[in-house]
């Protein structure tokens, strides 16, 4: 029994415990049935479950024994004491067992706790290690990313491209063998090369700077030298003036003109330059001069960017002063108008001399606020002209240059922006002022290089030399032709008014020798009167009778026949032919509405005009047309078929040689004259 074994071992148990037991424990492990007894070792050997059973059994025994003792004590008796003693000893033994069990339990508990504590400690240590490691990992990662993100300064430099580098760099820097394989070395090599190049360039820069300094110094020296020359040259020029005059080379005069020209406003300057150039190159008969006050121009003319502001300032000032001095609105408006229409003080004068010694004087002005150029024209002839009545308008300054180019009547401002300006000051149209200011023809603007696109108003002054140059030659030629044709007409009108159609000798071949019909009247008529005539409706409807044309009435007579001819003279004569409309009064009134032959006569004069132009430049057109009209009337009257019912001879015996009298469905008379055979035929 265990109680018996524990009895035997009891005194050893009390003595062995604590530290010395430790050393001994190991020994007791090896010597199980050894000399002395270790309770700790015993614990490991015993089964806790069995101990528990033992405990329960012992408790039960104790309880039993106690109960028996109780019994015995309560009964009393003699042998009870022995029995009680016996039982008492048994219970003491049980108590001993219990005590042992208790000790064992305690030891077990302690062991368990120790083990747990140890394990826990280990776990804690591991945990700490883990934390440390994690922290280190994080730190290292941060470091790594930092390292990776590191941008070295060298990446900011633009290096030359790889191929260039290998091409240009000397081999000791590029070290191709090494660098091709190793990008790090390559970058290093490239940086090296970069550095080399920069050093070289810095050197060059320093050299250039020093060069520049040197040159600047030289320039200074030369400038001083030149400025010292200036007074000497002036004196030489002065001395040479008499020589120039003697030799007819007016360089000085031209120079002075160029000086004045510098003060011209840009459009007039362009005109001046182009006209002078043209005059020198192509046309010796053209002379250019500048008129006007240079001082005023200097006062006005400042560099182009300021001129607009300046003028608006001076405008504002003037407005203010006028407001203070003159409170009336009307006069104020008048002043504003005058201001708007103000001319630049300088003007360019062009004199075009023609072959017959007549001169066309053109004065060009520049209207500053409106930014347009105008021209005033005047024709002077070598000999004094007696103006016939009908020629009044031919050479008048107002109309002599009208419609030089088709449609260019010069009564409206060509700059669309001006309309807005006019609205501000109540000017309706420039037409009212052209007599004073000159005509703003489109060709004048083009000569000054001013280009006005039709749609948008233009506020900036763009003066274009190429525009001016291309128009210069054409315009000069047109001007000359215009003057000459007007003068030719002038002379012709003088003769026409006397009833003589002046046919020059080189146009005689166009007409037969004998012309019986005579021109009896040649007068001007007004535009409104022309449009009122009943036989001119077609021309008016076709838009050929505008208000820029000149209108005349001619009367041709033969016997009782009277032929009225209404003539439209286009300003572009003689390139644009005059247009005739006829009305014959003979045995009734015949016009192109009711007589096909009148229509044919008009066609002969209007449509077939090219043969009547005569020698170039064709100034004989009008007189030839009139002569032809007389011839046509002759033919018409003479070939009129005789009416058998009326008695008497024909009023006009046929003297013209005609092959046939009528031809075609319209039965037209033979109006075409054939030279030199001298007979009439049909077209």
């Amino acid at each position: 029994m265990s109680s018996e074994s524990s009895k035997k071992r009891k005194p050893k148990v009390i003595r062995s415990d604590g530290a010395p037991a430790e050393g001994k424990r190991t020994r007791s492990d090896t010597e199980q049935e050894g000399k002395y007894y270790s309770e700790e070792a015993e614990v490991d050997l015993r089964d806790p479950g069995r101990d528990y059973e033992l405990y329960k059994y012992t408790c039960q025994e104790l309880q039993r024994l106690m109960a028996e003792i109780q019994d015995l004590k309560s009964r009393g008796g003699k042998d009870a004491a022995v029995e009680i003693e016996d039982r008492r000893i048994q219970s003491c033994v049980h108590f001993m067992t219990l005590k042992k069990l208790n000790r064992l339990a305690h030891i077990r508990l302690k062991k368990g706790r120790d083990q747990t504590h140890e394990a826990k400690q280990k776990v804690d240590a591991y945990h700490l290690q883990l934390q440390n490691l994690l922290y280190e990992v994080m730190h290292l990662q941060k470091e790594i990313t930092k390292c990776l993100e590191f941008k070295s300064k060298h990446e900011e430099i633009d290096l030359v491209s790889l191929e260039e580098f290998y091409k240009e760099a000397p081999p000791d820097i590029s070290k191709a063998e090494v660098t091709m394989g190793d990008p790090h070395q390559q970058t290093l090599a490239r940086l090296d090369w970069e550095l080399e190049q920069r050093k070289r360039l810095a050197e060059k820069y320093r050299e250039c700077l020093s060069n520049k300094e040197k040159i600047l110094k030289e320039i200074e020296v030369k400038k001083e030298y030149l400025s010292s020359l200036q007074p000497r040259l002036n004196s030489i020029m002065q001395a040479s003036l008499p020589v120039q005059e003697y030799l007819f080379m007016p360089f000085d005069q031209a120079h002075k003109q160029y000086e004045t020209a510098r003060h011209l406003p840009p459009p007039l300057y362009v005109l001046f330059v182009q006209a002078t150039a043209y005059g020198q190159a192509c046309d010796k008969m053209l002379s250019v001069a500048i008129e006007g006050s240079v001082d005023e121009a200097k006062a006005l003319f400042k560099p182009p960017e300021d001129s607009q502001d300046d003028e608006s300032d001076s405008d504002a000032e003037e407005e203010q002063t006028t407001k203070r001095r003159r409170p009336t609105l009307g006069v104020q408006l008048d002043d504003k108008r005058k201001e708007m229409l103000k001319r630049h003080p300088l003007s360019v004068l062009l004199d075009l001399k023609c072959k017959d010694d007549s001169v066309l004087h053109l004065t060009f002005y520049y209207l500053m606020n409106l930014n347009i150029m105008t021209v005033k024209a005047r024709v002077t002839t070598a000999t004094e002209l007696i103006t016939p009545i009908s020629a009044g308008d031919l050479l008048s300054p107002d109309s002599v240059l009208s419609c030089l180019y088709p449609g260019d009547h010069g009564k409206k401002t060509p700059n669309p922006a001006n309309q807005y300006q006019f609205d501000k000051v109540g000017i309706l149209t420039l037409r009212d002022y052209v007599l004073d200011l000159g005509h703003p023809y489109l060709w004048v603007q083009k000569l000054g290089g001013l280009h006005f696109p039709k749609e948008q108003p233009q506020h900036t002054v763009i003066t274009d030399h190429s525009l001016s140059a291309s128009h210069m030659e054409t315009t000069m030629k047109l001007l000359k032709t215009r003057v000459q044709s007007r003068l030719a007409l002038h002379k012709q009108f003088a003769s026409l008014e006397h009833g003589i159609v002046p046919v020059t000798s080189d146009c005689h071949y166009l007409f037969p020798a004998k012309v019986v019909s005579r021109l009896v009247k040649w007068v001007t008529i007004a535009h409104e009167d022309y449009t009122e005539l009943h036989f001119t409706k077609d021309i008016v409807e076709a838009g050929l009778a505008g208000d820029t044309n000149l209108y005349y009435m001619a009367l041709v007579e033969r016997g009782t026949a009277k032929l009225q001819a209404a003539v439209v003279l286009n300003p572009g004569y003689s390139s644009i032919p005059p247009i005739f409309q006829l009305c014959l009064n003979w045995k009734g009134e015949k016009t192109n509405n009711n007589d096909d032959n009148i229509r044919a006569m008009e066609s002969e004069v209007n449509v077939c005009y090219k043969e009547l132009c005569g020698p170039r430049p064709g100034h004989q057109l009008l007189t030839n047309q009139l002569q032809r009209l007389c011839v046509l009337l002759d033919v018409y009257l003479e070939t009129e078929s005789h009416d058998d019912s009326v008695e008497g001879p024909k009023e006009f015996p046929q003297e013209k040689m005609c092959l046939r009298l009528f031809r075609g469905p319209s039965r037209i008379k033979p109006f075409k004259y054939n030279h030199p055979q001298g007979f009439f035929s049909h077209r």
Binding site: Y405, G407, L428, D596, R599, V607, L659, F662, G664, P665
Partner: protein, 341 residues
């Protein structure tokens, strides 16, 4: 504001010349294409213009539809007369007759197919050809004009077969009397002559000016226009417009028209005539004036009725004369619009 100028475009030399040409243009002849959709018009400058009637008559016609599709210079002189066969356009003016293919012209390829000149007697002046007449049964083309003869040309071979003489002054107009077949010609000498085509001889002569009812000596004796309806003939010109019965050579009706007429034609039961004066006149056979429809030209020289069966929608009357315009009458009562060169 400035007065709006009557001319919108500044007139340079070219524009003025063109405007003058148009003002003095006379359209002498017209001819309808075989398909009926196109109209050819010839003017005094020798130009022929082709107008598209179908385009101008359609509902979405614009201003350009009233202009020619193509204009070409056909002759040196005026184009006095034109006819169309089923493939060709024949035009004649100054002494020559030229042929053009309609198909080519419509494609704007204007090259003449052939040209022929009848054998003239005189050589001083080339006589004009005033009238062309097609005789479809015999495939003949008859030309007449300034040399006072009628020439017949075979359209197959182009040879001139015979010439009929008899007129003493130049011939204005021709008409075909299908039944016989006979050709009527009217001329400046005041006579209407009938010729038999088979025998090539003059069969009948009517001297219109000798008849009191219709002669008008102050106008002259010339016969400007002829039309025939087999038994009947209407002619006019210097003498008044008169309806004749051919067999008896008597004038039955004199139409009271003062102005000389230059073109006359039978249409259904009416007679249409035009001449000096703006109007196209419509007459009943009895001599009454049914209507006078004014055109846009001051005098008319040519009327053309488009009766081609292939294009019934283009059945219009077109009138042309002393202007550059060809008036189109869709309904004989009024002028619808004008085509213009």
């Amino acid at each position: 504001m400035e007065r709006a100028a009557q001319q919108a475009v500044p007139l340079g030399q070219m524009e003025v010349f063109e405007a003058l040409q148009r003002l003095h243009m006379t359209v002498f002849s017209q001819s309808v294409s075989p398909c009926g959709k196109f109209l050819a018009a010839g003017n005094n400058y020798g130009q022929i213009a082709i107008f598209s009637l179908s385009a101008a008559l359609s509902s979405e016609a614009k201003e350009e539809s009233k202009k020619p599709m193509v204009t070409f210079q056909a002759h040196d002189g005026p184009v006095y007369s034109m006819v169309s066969t089923d493939r060709h356009l024949l035009s004649a003016g100054d002494g020559e007759v030229k042929a053009w293919l309609w198909a080519e012209i419509l494609k704007k390829g204007c090259k003449e197919l052939w040209r022929r000149q009848p054998p003239y007697r005189t050589s001083l002046e080339v006589p004009e050809i005033n009238a062309l007449l097609l005789v479809p049964k015999e495939n003949l083309l008859i030309l007449a004009g300034g040399d006072c003869q009628l020439h017949a040309m075979d359209l197959e071979t182009g040879t001139f077969m015979w010439a009929l003489r008899g007129h003493t002054d130049y011939i204005h107009c021709l008409a075909l009397r299908e039944r016989s077949p006979e050709v009527l010609s009217g001329g400046e000498d005041g006579a209407v002559r009938l010729w038999d085509l088979r025998t090539a001889k003059e069969v009948q002569t009517i001297e219109v000016y000798k008849h009191e009812e219709c002669s008008r000596p102050h106008n002259g004796r010339w016969i400007g226009c002829l039309a025939t309806d087999s038994d009947w003939m209407v002619c006019g010109g210097g003498p008044a417009l008169t309806l004749w019965h051919l067999r008896s050579s008597t004038p039955t009706t004199v139409f009271p028209m003062r102005a000389p007429q230059k073109h006359v034609t039978f249409y259904q039961d009416l007679i249409l005539s035009a001449g000096q004066g703006r109007c196209v006149n419509q007459w009943q056979l009895s001599g009454e004036l049914k209507a006078q429809v004014p055109g846009s030209s001051p005098g008319l020289l040519s009327l053309s009725l488009n009766q081609q069966p292939a294009a019934p929608e283009c059945k219009v009357l077109t009138a042309a004369g002393n202007s550059c315009r060809v008036d189109v009458f869709t309904n004989l009562g009024y002028r619808a619009f004008s085509l213009s060169f």
